[in-house]
């Protein structure tokens, strides 16, 4: 009985996924693209870097990278604090 219910739920869920995948927009043509167009147009002349992704990560969205670096630092501090009493 349980298996039948799970099977029906799985089929409904999977058909939902397939329907939504078929009805997706064409790849690379978003409806709202003002921000993307701005980055692609102006990133090279404003930051001087050829790699637009790096110019976004380190220049336009610098706070995001600061947060990532801080998260990594916090992880290291946590691991060192966890194993600190071990070596003496």
């Amino acid at each position: 009985m349980k298996k039948i219910i799970f099977g029906i739920a799985f089929i409904i869920f999977f058909s939902f996924l397939i329907v939504s995948a078929v009805n997706m927009r064409t790849f690379g043509e978003p409806i709202i693209s003002e921000m993307d167009d701005y980055f692609i147009e102006n990133a090279q002349s404003e930051t001087g870097a050829n790699n637009v992704v790096t110019s976004i990560v380190f220049d336009y969205r610098g706070f995001d990278t600061l947060g990532e670096a801080t998260v990594l630092f916090t992880a290291v501090v946590g691991i060192v604090a966890l194993f600190r009493g071990v070596k003496r």
Binding site: V57, V76, I79
Partner: protein, 158 residues
């Protein structure tokens, strides 16, 4: 962690320098090619994990020092924050070196071009800072956990 066989150690001796150089290449060319500080740091940090696994934690403590890695990690994060603060004349994280003609200050060609190392303003310096931090964070994590595993094994035996 015991050291592995002679085959693994010989292959490690051949390979680890190339892995570190490749990671440094990805870090240094972060503003021109795909990749950047995080990716290159992860690549270079995997070389230290390879050294630790093949040589064992007791032997590799002689040439991989945890304190030096920790120092470099703090230095990378502080350098990143200092670079963010030094654009504070206009805003935090302002790219004050771009198109200025000084360090990394050449103007980039617009459109598809092979690229110039001397462009990008503050971005290559930030790539180096983040790469240094990620690389040494990997080293610290791997070395600390290896020493912890060694301690646990010793305790289980006694």
């Amino acid at each position: 962690m015991k050291e592995m066989s002679r085959i693994v150690k010989t292959v490690t001796n051949f390979v680890y320098g190339f892995i570190i150089i490749f990671g440094l290449y990805i870090i240094a060319h972060g503003h021109l090619t795909p990749g950047g500080g995080f990716q290159g740091g992860a690549v270079a940090g995997s070389a230290f994990a390879l050294l630790l696994v093949s040589y064992g934690s007791l032997n590799s403590n002689k040439f991989l020092k945890k304190d030096i890695f920790s120092l470099f990690e703090n230095f990378g994060l502080v350098l990143f924050i200092v670079l963010g603060f030094s654009g504070l004349g206009i805003t935090f994280f302002y790219n004050f070196l771009a198109n200025s003609g000084s360090w990394f200050g050449n103007a980039a060609f617009i459109g598809i071009n092979p690229g110039d190392m001397n462009t990008g303003g503050v971005i290559p310096l930030m790539n180096i800072a983040v790469g240094l931090e990620v690389l040494s964070a990997f080293g610290v994590i791997v070395l600390t956990m290896a020493s912890g595993a060694e301690f646990t094994k010793k305790k289980e035996k006694s």
